[in-house]
Symmetry: C2
Subunit: 142 residues, 2 copies
DNA sequence: TATTGTTATACTCTATAACTATA
DNA sequence: TATAGTTATAGAGTATAACAATA
């Protein structure tokens, strides 16, 4: 489990992940605040824009969010006019979340911010190490 | 930012970290539940046991927790008789959190559980990849 | 003046159950 | 029967400000 040596601890993977995630989220939320977005909204808006229309269920699956949390998330974005819920012609239960022109414009403005956030999150690593880290992290998430 | 290809997304690092952390925490909390512990309590108890007495401030620094959250955490552990708050002879503001005999006994019982959790969290990676990943993750956290 | 621990408080996040309308 | 979305709600986590005791 780890032993204390001086002031440093051979910390648990779970703790390390929680710390890295918390720090990255705080950085992202602070950086996106001037645009009125949180990391979660930015991610969902990106998915909506790039997909050209996704079911909420899929947003939840991609972002690891509960369906009920996706409702709140899309409500926020729709309330700001950044996305629309359109009927899915293939499945009348589902509603396709699509980015509006305003949403796409905001995403473009947020591009630089997002780049800075990614850099800050992995600032301690070299470019090659970042690639390695993200590749492994993606496999960890599955 | 990433482009959609089929059903997979070149997801943001922030999202990946949040997903990995969430999944690891859920696994850890579920596995430790029979022992009446959450991941956070387990981590703090480990630090207390291995250090032989830590200031709450340091627990917060190691675990990335707000000082006020550490109060609640140590209250829980103390209420269950797993740690004690002893006066620090070198600084009368601080209180040294030390594991009790019960706390150490519980930690020993939790050892196997912790091993399983770490394995589950990084189950998709080979042993060598796990080492690489944890080393990089530790540098990301700083 | 700054720091440790503490309390109170507000806010966000997460998770579940129950419901509807479809499939 | 199962699934997509929704609502309500409860519980956990996070963050801030203010305070007493001590440095």
């Amino acid at each position: 489990m780890g032993t204390i040596a001086g002031t440093s601890v051979d910390t648990d993977v779970v703790v390390l992940l929680a710390r890295a995630s918390g720090a990255a989220l705080r950085t992202a939320n602070a950086a996106l605040e001037p645009l009125g977005l949180r990391a979660r909204h930015y991610a969902a808006l990106t998915i909506a824009a790039e997909s050209g229309g996704v079911a909420q269920r899929q947003i939840g699956a991609l972002l690891g969010l509960d369906p009920s949390a996706v409702v709140t998330l899309v409500d926020d974005l729709e309330g700001r006019g950044l996305v629309q819920r359109l009927p899915d012609p293939d499945d009348r239960r589902a509603r396709l979340v699509t980015a509006t022109a305003d949403g796409i414009r905001l995403l473009e403005r947020a591009g630089d911010v997002a780049r800075e956030v990614r850099q800050a999150a992995l600032g301690a690593l070299s470019p090659a190490e970042r690639e390695t880290f993200v590749a492994l992290l993606r496999r960890v998430v599955g």
